[in-house]
């Protein structure tokens, strides 16, 4: 009974997600929502705005600096989690 209900729920969920996929625009067409003015803004204005020659660097560290901040925080949180799980005990610095 458990297996049958699991199969039914999984099938329903897959179908629900595939309905969402069916509504997506075709791959590579010009009128996709991703092809908006943001791309041109980055390519043409980033040198004047930030002064960095590397456009990717100016994107991730100036326009979207907080995204990178949260990314670094995610890495730090992963480190703390691994320390919590794997580290054995105290050290000579804490008393």
């Amino acid at each position: 009974m458990k297996k049958i209900s699991a199969i039914i729920i999984t099938t329903l969920f897959i179908g629900f997600l595939l309905i969402g996929v069916a509504d997506m625009p075709p791959f590579g067409s010009e009128n996709n929502p991703a092809h908006n003015e943001v791309m041109e803004k980055y390519i043409y204005d980033s040198l004047e705005d930030t002064g960095a020659v590397n456009i990717v660097s100016s994107m991730i560290l100036d326009y979207r600096a907080f995204d990178t901040f949260i990314e670094a925080s995610v890495i730090f949180a992963a480190l703390i989690t691994i320390m919590t799980v794997l580290k054995e005990g105290g050290n000579k610095y804490e008393d």
């Binding site: 040198l47 930030t50 002064g51 960095a52 020659v53 590397n54 990717v56 660097s57 100016s58 991730i60 560290l61 100036d62 600096a65 907080f66 990178t68 901040f69 670094a72 925080s73 890495i75 730090f76 992963a78 480190l79 691994i82 320390m83 794997l86 580290k87 054995e88 050290n91 000579k92 610095y93």
Partner: protein, 145 residues
């Protein structure tokens, strides 16, 4: 793993790896690279040092308590610096940090210091994760002192 051939080769190669990593981090805004890529290079050099020269010597060189503090301070400084600049630009203090001539090392405003901070966080975190998976502990328990 710890023969004298490997030790001598690593002695020559390790400074080159670290210089290359520092180059990738510091020149992240004028050439391909950046904090994440350069940080992984520096972190892999730290892992190599620990694998070859043993955990006691690495513990004496990289005291994990201070490295952990360095990571936390880097994250706090990143958030404070960028948040301050965001607020100041919102309030109308544009051009607070000069952009400089594009292509120079000292250009791009805050991008280079932020790259350095990201590099510190990524390198030390990779080193810690590799150490934990290898030994199950961040420092050698039976080590010196």
């Amino acid at each position: 793993m710890k023969t004298s051939i490997v030790k001598n080769v690593v002695k020559v190669i390790l400074p080159l790896i670290q210089i290359f990593g520092a180059y990738v981090i510091i020149f992240g805004h004028v050439s391909p690279g950046g904090g994440f890529a350069g940080g992984s290079i520096v972190g892999s050099s730290l892992i190599l040092y620990r694998l070859i020269y043993g955990s006691e010597r690495a513990d004496r060189k990289f005291i994990y308590f201070y490295l952990l503090k360095l990571v936390s301070i880097s994250l706090v400084v990143y958030g404070t610096l960028k948040g301050l600049i965001f607020i100041l630009e919102h309030l109308g203090f544009n051009g607070f940090i000069p952009i400089g001539v594009p292509g120079n090392l000292l250009s791009g405003g805050l991008i280079m210091p932020l790259n350095v901070l990201i590099g510190i966080v990524v390198s030390i975190t990779f080193y810690f994760i590799a150490t934990l998976f290898e030994e199950g502990e961040l420092e050698n328990v039976n080590g010196a002192e």
